[in-house]
Amino acid sequence: MHWLPQHRQVDTRSRERDIKGRIMTITENMPTKIIGTRLLRREDPPLLTGEAKFTNDLNIPGALHLAVLRSPYAHARIVSINTAAALAIPGVVAVYAGKDLQSTWAGPMPCAWPVTPEMKNPPHFPLAIDKVCYVGDGVAAVLATNETASRDALDAIDVEYEPLKAVVDLEEALSDKTIIHEGLGTNKSYIWNLKVEATEGCVDAAFAAAKYKVKERYVQQRLLPMAMETRAVAAVPQPFGGDITLYSSTQVPHILKVMTALTLGIPEHQMRVVAPSVGGGFGSKLNVYAEELLCTALARKHNTPVRWVEERSENSQATIHGRGQIQTIELAADDSGKITAVRVRIIADMGAYLQLVTPGVPILGAFLYAGVYDIPQAYDFSCTGVFTTLTPTDAYRGAGRPEATYAIERAIEALAHSMKIDSFELRKRNFIKKEQFPYTAFSGLTYDSGDHLLAAEKAAKIADYAGIRAQQEKQNVPGATKRLGIGMTSYFEMCGLAPSRVLASLNYSAGGWEAATVRILPTNKVQVVTGTSPHGQGHETSWAMIAAEKLGISPDDIDVLHSDTAIAPLGLDTYGSRSLPVGGVAVALACDKVIDKAKRIAAHQLECAAEDLEFANGTFSVKGSPDRALPLAAIAFAAFTAHNLPDGVEPNLEAQVSYDPPNFSWPFGTHMCVVEVDTETGAVKVLKYVAVDDCGVQINPLIVEGQVHGGVIQGLAQALFEEAVYDSDGNLKTTTLAEYLVPAASDVPPITTDFTVTPSPTNQLGVKGIGEAGTIGAAPTVINAIVDALAGLGVTNMAMPASPQTVWNTINNATRGGKK
């Protein structure tokens, strides 16, 4: 035995003991059944006690403060910029206009998703050069020795603008009356089509033959992502040699590193990107932003650290927006209500420029307009991306899939209404059946598993669907002012982005793999290095649980390293509910690889063949003679001393995996919600919300429930509260949290979560993503419930957000006999 047997006697699994100053000793292996337990999140103590360090908490001596002057016009030419008065303010070091920095950029800001070869993408630079295209567009950059002086200087810069007509309305933008980017000759960025027909012309034929048809128009209002931490950046040049470290409140340190290097012409190996604690993103930090490029470029220029922190109202305008679509959906159905064809037309608001994945967001939704239904190959989808003079849109929790789910789940209600049958019954007639999985949808993608009826019936039971229907009979009588409604949504979510080959077919410029390294240190402590970049999701806890279960080591002895490209050089970061089904699976695979290596060493030391060994509970033992055994801890030490390794086996226990998923992950479920609508005021009260989700095997149910809660609240917020409101001049009217109504704890109903478990057959953990499912389910569920409550008054549709005023107006229009 070459490892230190005396140290095995001491159990050092508890971190407390280390803190109390006991000698660090070798960790014991132990049976570990931890997947599926409600382990408290290790991330929470530093967050809850304020110990966590966010980008703006970093103490960076000598840093200059960047402030960005932003356009007050949605659309204007820059006639002149006078910076003299700003430069005279004590503490102001430099003021740059867009023209001054033009030679700094090796290329325009990146858009990684040219969805069609013809897609039009106007050049977009961190500071506008001669024209501004939205309120908030950067016009000048101030560097000052303190933040106050940098803000004072903004007031002192004198810019002369020649205002042009704002383009706010999507349909107006399409008319090309006012062209925003003259060089493009049109406001249309692209048209993306997907037509799937079993036989040519079968969509039109299905509509012609249909017993029932519905055609509905829905507006997905723009939303502000409103992460609790606004963005913050600090770029720190190293004193010699040109290396630079970029700290940013980002979800995508790896993507940011490559893109910053390319945009600034910095050799990639000289860039390091670190995401310290990040206070939420919801997609808004899945981007490469002007301020990241400005800080990096100016830090290099001045050879001094440069930092920037975004104000809240700046965040409303300078950080991407979500949603922003007008959808038209048509369903054809036969006499039993079986859907026979789907036609979808979308106008998608790109905003003023294409940010990192702006054009791809509606395309992600294109594959989900069939929802959870068994629909023949008769699908006709087209999306037109159009520029407006508003803040660019981009990925926001769900990115394209909530919009798609909303459309099909609202349209199926309309279909049920036209057939005069219960919408739950209509759903049942159309559900893909359990025995049909794996199911190839008309979009061409394969849904790996599902059981929609099970989830729906479970939700109906918890929500007491039948009871609510009975109570409605009594309550929603003519003249009633408190009307009861119940709504549901059954969804499929396409996440776990993504198989690289599928991304290639969609023209996405990167892959969808994820990397993980598992390193067992000499004392049997473990480092898990992941390419995911958590910003609230609890990867440190979950990845430690996966490795603990695999290796037979307490999660307390496992550290999870991430979000620093020097420590975790390979990765594709966190978005699209990908982290667990791609990154977490990579961790499991890396564990397997380490165990394989350890097994060869164990076989050598136990003098048997590797095939004769089994590994369980952290111990290798010879099959049939369990007393011939070695714990992983012994192998870890042996691999470190390298005194007695088999030929051809390198020292140390470490393995790296890059895992490319074979398929998306397909969580699904049914949400139900019960509302009471006060018809006198239009106020909606959510009485009950039930979410039954299926994300396969749950690593940590506590974290799963947290994701569902947060997701549901964000979807409910779209349904009831939130909207980025612009006036006709393109001014955002909801720039503070007083106008932009993010619901608080007192505004959300109790949420009952429950689950069905259909393990994913495509990965060894059986896991599926759950980060976006709640958001996808909630908005249509709430709106369906409101429309249901008001059905007796002739209401058939409801705009989002269903504010009291909107509800009241809609009731008035319906009862006055007006059309919907």
């Binding site: 109202s313 005021t681 509260f721 109504l741 505004d747 009291p804």
Partner: protein, 274 residues
């Protein structure tokens, strides 16, 4: 989120505060709880060059029974108004309304005097004290004077206070067992009212004031007269907006506000008549 530069002085008495404001003139502002002033300063919508902090003047924070009235020091925090036994007994409408102001943090910092002096038509306590027939006591270099709530509100964020005057006390008549109700309609529980109603009723006598229904808090005198003349509650409530002139904003159009006012006044009077 960084206000423009300003100076700061802390006053320990009303007299000192008034002498400071006299010295520093119209660019100076009193700072009480700071929960209306500081947000404006952070957005640089207000840029006073001098703040005179009156927030720690201890002897202006009190709630006392003065016979027919309850007297409240201007620096009394919303939370103290909300939880006061004296007010709960004699002016429960005011205590209840104070409990509807913002959230707990706001109620621990904001003061009743600041709320009234700020004269924001969307604030809850100006309208409530107006409905109750309160009198405000103000002090300036020329001494003290009393201003009836009905004479106090002059326009949007404008009051009868002179620049060098300070509000020091609010006198509210005891409600003598009148029924009452405070109705606050908003989209999120902790928001300002889209429309609010403070109402009390004692037989044919009633007082009704409206929050956020014009450029000042509005005394709905038509409703009160209708009740005095024996009108039904719903007929009286239909007159809710007679004195009002509500604006359109993100949450409500003028018409919708008027409609809400009549619904809420009806509900308030129904509750107050029980």
């Amino acid at each position: 989120m960084i206000p423009a530069a300003f100076d700061y002085k802390r006053a320990s008495s009303a007299a000192e505060a008034i002498s400071l404001i006299t010295q520093h003139g119209s660019d100076a502002k009193f700072l009480a709880g700071g929960h209306s002033l500081l947000p404006l300063m952070k957005l640089r919508l207000a840029q006073p060059s001098m703040l005179i902090d009156i927030g720690r003047i201890k002897d202006l924070s009190y709630i006392k029974d003065a016979g027919n009235h309850i007297v409240i020091g201007a620096l009394t925090r919303h939370m103290d108004v909300e939880t006061s036994k004296v007010l709960r007994e004699h002016v429960p409408l005011l205590a209840d309304a104070a409990g509807h102001v913002g959230d707990a943090q706001v109620r621990h910092r904001g003061t009743i005097g600041g709320s009234i002096a700020h004269a924001d038509p969307a604030s809850d306590l100006p309208a409530t004290t107006l409905a109750l027939g309160a009198t405000y006591v103000v002090q300036g270099p020329r001494g003290q004077r009393e201003i009836a709530a009905t004479d106090f509100y002059k326009g949007f964020l404008e009051s009868a206070l002179a620049e060098d005057e300070m509000l020091i006390e609010i006198r509210v008549p005891k409600m003598q067992g009148a029924g009452w109700s405070f109705q606050k309609f908003n989209r999120r529980a902790q928001d300002w009212a889209i429309v609010g109603v403070a109402a009390w009723r004692r037989k044919d006598e009633a007082g009704v004031a409206l929050v956020n229904m014009g450029s000042t808090p509005i005394l709905a005198t038509s409703v009160a007269s209708a009740i005095a003349n024996g009108a039904s509650i719903s007929d009286a409530a239909a007159m809710a907006s007679n004195e009002a002139d509500p604006q359109t904003d993100l949450n409500a159009s003028t018409d919708y506000r008027k409609h809400l006012a009549s619904v809420l006044v009806r509900r308030a009077l129904e509750a107050a008549s029980k």
